[in-house]
């Protein structure tokens, strides 16, 4: 019997740690009275316009640099259209054509055989990092057949990190996300607490036989912790192997992870393949970033973001801190992982 090769790719949304939202001046705060942190722009009232928050751009650049990405000196904003009650504008402002950072990598470590004694380093490629808006929150009231909408979260800045499908199991995904969490927290670009929705992970899973093309992939959502991430991915891999082994087929669908049952179930409300009708955001000119060489002479400093300046001020990343601990105190590498 030919072995199955699982393929796992992650799409991660990290809420940017900032005082105000990506395109408006309303506050970013977890757990506030409903609809109290909402500006006219966030509620999508006619006549309002987006104004980009400098801090969010800096957070994205820092993150891109820490993940060895190429920072695009010119990036563009687009509209992604779809209808949902928590998206009052009917579109999300994102960066589909030219995102702010591309082609990076994230290195993480795994223990072999569950023993801390042997650690192996793996790398997952980062396809891109883009700036985009978060949507509001929907509370489903099934008894009264209605949805309650709170727009406090609508418009909060997000960094979407797209990883290439370089991983093969739940354990690798969990380790990668843990390391990413540490990096984001060290940089301060996101607090990355999954329980508060500051870090959301969707997993794309497929299986195929060696030498054959990649199988149909499913997208798994509603994963609320790193532990559940590993469980959901491993369950989905097994489900697909079983289904294919019984002669069935895998549908290209979105599935939700049910943490109580420990399984994935098809999500309702997904009407086949969505056509997002991407179009350039007409209210935002291209985002131009500078470095030491291209710095314009006579521009207001507040309006200029210098990539090199940010690079010089990056704090030591966790991997560097671990190395320093090993060097300075002579501890074992695996112990440096316990500490950091």
């Amino acid at each position: 019997l030919a072995p199955w090769i699982p393929v796992v790719g992650l799409e991660i949304h990290a809420q940017i740690s900032s005082n105000s939202k990506l395109f408006s001046g309303s506050q970013v705060q977890f757990a506030a009275p409903p609809n109290s942190l909402v500006s006219f722009f966030d509620a999508s009232l006619p006549g309002t316009l987006p104004v980009l928050n400098r801090r969010c751009v800096e957070a994205a650049v820092m993150t891109g640099l820490a993940l060895n990405c190429h920072i695009n000196k010119k990036s563009l904003f687009d509209r992604k259209h779809y209808f949902y009650a928590d998206l009052p504008a009917g579109y999300q402002i994102t960066q589909q054509r030219v995102p702010i950072a591309v082609n990076g990598s994230l290195s993480y470590s795994l223990c072999i055989d569950n023993k801390m004694s042997q650690m192996v380093t793996k790398t997952v490629r980062i396809k891109q990092i883009q700036l985009e808006q978060d949507s509001g929150k929907s509370l489903h009231d099934d008894t009264r057949s209605q949805t309650l909408v709170d727009l406090n979260r609508a418009g909060v800045g997000l960094m979407e990190l797209v990883m290439e499908p370089d991983m093969c199991c739940g354990e690798e995904a969990a380790a990668a996300v843990r390391e990413l969490q540490l990096i984001l927290q060290t940089l301060g670009s996101s607090q990355a607490v999954m329980a508060e929705g500051q870090l959301r992970v969707d997993a794309n899973v497929s299986v195929h036989h060696p030498g054959e093309p990649y199988g149909v992939r499913t997208e798994v959502k509603n994963i609320n912790s790193i532990r559940f991430l590993a469980k959901a991915i491993d369950y989905e891999i097994q489900r697909q192997i079983q289904e294919l082994g019984n002669g069935g087929t895998i549908l290209n669908e979105t599935r939700a992870f049910d943490s109580k049952l420990g399984c994935t179930i098809p999500m309702r409300d997904k009407e086949g393949k969505q056509d997002y009708r991407f179009m350039p955001e007409p209210n935002l000119p291209p985002l131009i970033l500078y470095d030491a060489k291209s710095l314009p002479a006579n521009m207001n400093h507040q309006q200029v973001i210098n990539i090199d300046w940010i690079h010089e001020r990056l704090p030591d990343l966790p991997s560097v801190k671990r190395e320093k601990l090993v060097e300075q105190y002579g501890i074992l590498p695996e112990h440096s992982f316990t500490l950091l």
Binding site: G25, N35, A43, R55, V57, L76, F83, L148, P282
Partner: protein
Amino acid sequence: MRVLSLGRWLRAGRVPPRGRVRLNSGHRHSGHRPQAPPQGPAQVPPRKVSVEVLDHLEHLALVDFRDSEGVERLQKAIQFADQLHEVNTDGVEPMDSVLEDRCLYLREDDVTEGNCTKELLENARETVEEYFVAPPGNIPLLKLEEQNTYLQGSK
């Protein structure tokens, strides 16, 4: 089989350019003047829009073409826009915003807005304890076969 995007569909059936007009490349300061465009509207043949595409558009944009006049208006609009294919744009970077030489203004990360719950909720027909009320999830449009509309009749 639904066509995924009207734009893609238009590109697939390109009208071959007649009497190529080379417009200046997007550079403002190059000093070249564009040649005069052809006189009058180009003779572009009208194209029928398939029922599948119309149905797809109705789902996407939540419009209702309602009757033959609505569909006819759409076809005329496409025909009008098709004139753009007369222009040779080889090697020209598409312009997607007239703001291309403007600086994107960067705002300082200060809290300056919000706290207007009462005002915002005034616009809502129905609210529950400071939440907006919406139907339970998206109510999908009926599939074409199940509808009783003009499009269904015209299949």
